[in-house]
Symmetry: C2
Subunit: 134 residues, 2 copies
């Protein structure tokens, strides 16, 4: 069922500082910041040779990463996103196995314009897992 690792998301309190760190100190290819107000984050992509890392900074009121950053003020790895070919088939299999889907269990359009689901960290070794249909 799982395809590629689409991205690892790292929540950061200061996107400019984290971008400079990846660009200047680690020598990575770093995108310009992109505001995604409908997702409550501003994102910067770190383009690696085989996948990407996304740096997320809260945007606006009620950002979905605000709680995480209040618990982890330095930032930290927030979620991991795996690609699937068929998100509805993935959802049905997960539900049949008793895994909890966050929200109302229906795929939403994610930050890349593709259908996504988030899985409950308690069911996935303490890790927030995003599935994205590609």
């Amino acid at each position: 069922m799982l395809g590629k690792l689409n991205h690892v998301a790292i929540a950061v309190p200061d996107l400019e500082k984290a971008s400079a760190l990846y660009r200047d100190t680690l020598g990575a290819k770093v995108s310009a910041p992109q505001a995604l107000p409908e997702h409550g984050v501003t994102v910067v992509f770190i383009e690696l040779d085989n996948t990407k890392v996304e740096l997320l900074e809260p945007l606006g009121e009620g950002s979905p990463i605000a709680g995480f950053l209040s618990k982890n003020p330095d930032g930290g790895m927030h979620h991991i996103c795996y690609e699937v070919a068929d998100i509805m088939a993935a959802r049905d299999r997960l539900k049949a196995d008793g895994a909890r889907i966050l929200g109302d269990g229906k795929p939403k359009i994610g930050a890349h314009g593709k259908p996504v689901l988030f899985l409950h960290p308690k069911d996935f070794a303490g890790t927030l897992v995003e599935l994205e249909q590609v």
Copy 2:
């Protein structure tokens, strides 16, 4: 400087359970467990199409992930490993930029038999970063 994302490591309290989850529920290709007593962990590799995820369970006394699991009893993302071509050049550049290298600052032979360094999470957006020379 950064090449591929070599792996994301997830520390888990129960390796058998986490392996079954990735194999049976998420339908991923999962290796047999491999004990690495010199690193204080037992590891299972989740082989994805473009990279891998490593599930780590503490092995023996003083495992380097024991503290993390006592703070995160369900498990969680422990570190992210990036590939570099020249680990000594990477280290010198990082030190020149004021980033802290863990331990004595000398590369060790990591779990894959290659030279590795770990960077201080406080300097890398709250994320424990491993660099591996490939």
